[in-house]
């Protein structure tokens, strides 16, 4: 899932300072699971904002709604009758959802209440770890299911580098060395030949906005 963190309260407060009627829009998917921008987080943020603005003698009127998914036009349409009454929309979705909301309602300022951090996993409730950078050219078959782009601090394709420190990365003793783990797992599986040949330089054409079009979509367009 996509993992996000709520922005520091002071930053959000400064963002909405010039607005007196704001609709906080949560998202019921990834950011709800990682406890950053779901229904519950929307109500907590609104309560905090309301309180602080009241103390500042600058009351704010806040609306709250949590959509199923902000990255889906169908769900954004649900806001059509409500957004007109607001000065700004405060989105608690991931960066994709925030942008899609802004694209759907271009006449209204849309502000981010969260920082989108990574594509990751749920280690426990409230504990998430990054696992994928979405490079667009997966090599996990060769690297024992451990991503060198994400899990190696240098993103090396032919590791481990000389900084491996008793199985840990040179950046920290709390960070396992990805290539050490790749080696260990491949060795156990008897598949070390996977990494004896050289990985060629990566194709980083993931730095321009990417589009995925499934064959089914193409067929529908033709019909």
């Amino acid at each position: 899932m996509i993992v996000a963190e709520r922005k520091p309260f002071e930053e959000i407060k400064a963002m909405v300072k010039d607005y007196s009627k704001v609709l906080t829009v949560g998202c019921g998917t990834c950011v709800a699971v990682c406890l950053a921008g779901g229904e519950k987080e929307v109500s907590i943020l609104n309560a905090e904002l309301k309180m602080t603005r009241k103390l500042d003698n600058s009351p704010i009127e806040l609306g709250a709604i949590t959509l199923e998914r902000q990255c889906d036009m169908e769900f954004l349409d649900e806001l059509e009758d409500t957004v007109g009454g607001y000065d700004a929309l405060l989105s608690m979705a991931c960066g994709a959802g925030i942008q899609f909301l802004a694209e759907r309602y271009p006449e209204i300022p849309v502000l981010p209440a969260v920082n989108t951090t990574f594509i990751g996993v749920n280690k426990d409730v409230g504990w998430y770890e990054e696992r994928c950078r979405g490079c667009g050219d997966c090599v996990l078959d060769r690297t024992a299911g451990i991503c060198p782009v994400t899990m190696c601090a240098k993103g090396l394709f032919n590791g481990p580098c000389g900084g491996t420190n008793q199985g840990n990365c040179e950046i920290s003793n709390d960070q396992p060395c990805a290539w050490f783990m790749i080696y260990e797992r491949l060795e156990k599986q008897g598949r070390l030949e996977n990494i004896t040949s050289i990985f060629p330089p990566a194709d980083w054409r993931n730095q321009t906005p990417r589009t995925v079009i499934q064959p089914g979509y193409k067929e529908r367009q033709k019909a």
Partner: protein, 308 residues
């Protein structure tokens, strides 16, 4: 392949190579480079010019290499993958060669977190092994990584690093093999203190036939103090300092610790002169350049041979 590199000539003639290291200054002071170069002149076959080592901004490696050339030294131009993408790297290699630089050492580079700009974006567009392959392709095929022809390819003598002590030990010799397959002509190792492990690693390389394909220069850094030895042991990633090394330094008079460090380094060099599969020594006398003449003298590697 003849790069015109003195280091290549020395190695191919079968001499025991002796290389040094020079860290560029944290400023635009050319005199600092010249001063350090003076100590190394005539003492080493080639001198590594480090590239923003420990991720701290310094005078660029190619620029300090040019000053070294002016001072009569042959630079071994270090290039790390941390700070440049493949466009900048290839451009710098062309420029370096055009200015007479003939050796390049291809490295991943210390992580940017260690340096004075931890906020920076680490590039790592390609890794050290891919960099070796790129320099080889430029040299042997006369082509850029992207495939286009190069007008006057840079004929670099290609170096790479190896750390026989980093984990997993069993994999280290295979990674060496990968560097050789990518195109490394010579290898300079991490500072060696654990001789037993080094012997084992060289034996593995011999057994795999790797030392017939590459020149291995053993990395030596004399210990200046007990504090330095402790720091190297506990704080430098991938460094293997056995307790006996520290004990030996502790066993001598306080004033004699540095001398004992040099003595240990010389003993190592003597062993490497005889070790099958080792073609020379790379002396990294970190901020101790003025001691290089003494170390070279005591290690009996002078005068340096001249090969035409």
């Amino acid at each position: 392949m003849n790069s015109g590199s003195n280091l290549q000539k020395i190695l191919e003639a079968g001499h025991f190579a002796f290389t040094g290291e020079l860290g560029p200054p944290r400023g635009a002071n050319a005199e600092t480079v010249r001063k350090k170069a003076e100590f190394l002149k005539g003492m080493v076959d080639s001198v590594n010019i480090t590239d923003n080592q420990t991720a701290m901004v310094r005078m660029s490696s190619w620029a300090a290499s040019l000053i070294a050339i002016q001072e009569g030294l042959e630079p071994n131009y270090q290039m790390v993958c941390r700070d440049r993408n493949r466009l900048a790297m290839q451009a710098d290699i062309l420029g370096a060669y055009a200015h007479g630089i003939r050796n390049i050492l291809c490295l991943s580079g210390d992580h940017q977190q260690f340096g004075d700009h931890p906020q920076c974006k680490g590039v790592f567009d390609i890794d050290s092994i891919q960099l070796i392959g790129m320099v080889k392709k430029m040299r042997d095929e006369g082509k850029f990584l992207g495939g286009a022809d190069i007008d006057t390819p840079p004929k670099m003598f290609i170096g790479a690093a190896a750390n026989p002590f980093a984990d997993p030990f069993e994999w280290r010799v295979y990674r060496l093999a990968k560097k050789i397959a990518a195109g490394a002509d010579f290898i300079q190792t991490q500072c060696i203190y654990n001789m037993e492990k080094m012997r084992k690693w060289v034996k593995q390389a011999n057994d795999m036939g790797l030392t017939e394909k590459v020149y291995i220069l053993a990395g030596i850094t004399p210990m200046k103090s007990i504090g330095m030895a402790r720091y190297m042991k506990s704080k430098v990633p991938g460094m293997d300092v056995p307790n006996e090394v520290i004990k030996r330094l502790q066993g001598v008079d306080k004033k004699k610790v540095a001398d004992e460090g040099i003595k240990m380094a010389c003993e190592q060099i003597e062993e490497f002169k005889e070790m099958k599969g080792v073609a020379g020594v790379h002396l990294m006398a970190i901020e101790w350049e003025h001691k290089v003449p003494e170390i070279a003298e005591r290690a009996k590697v002078l005068p340096r041979p001249q090969v035409d």
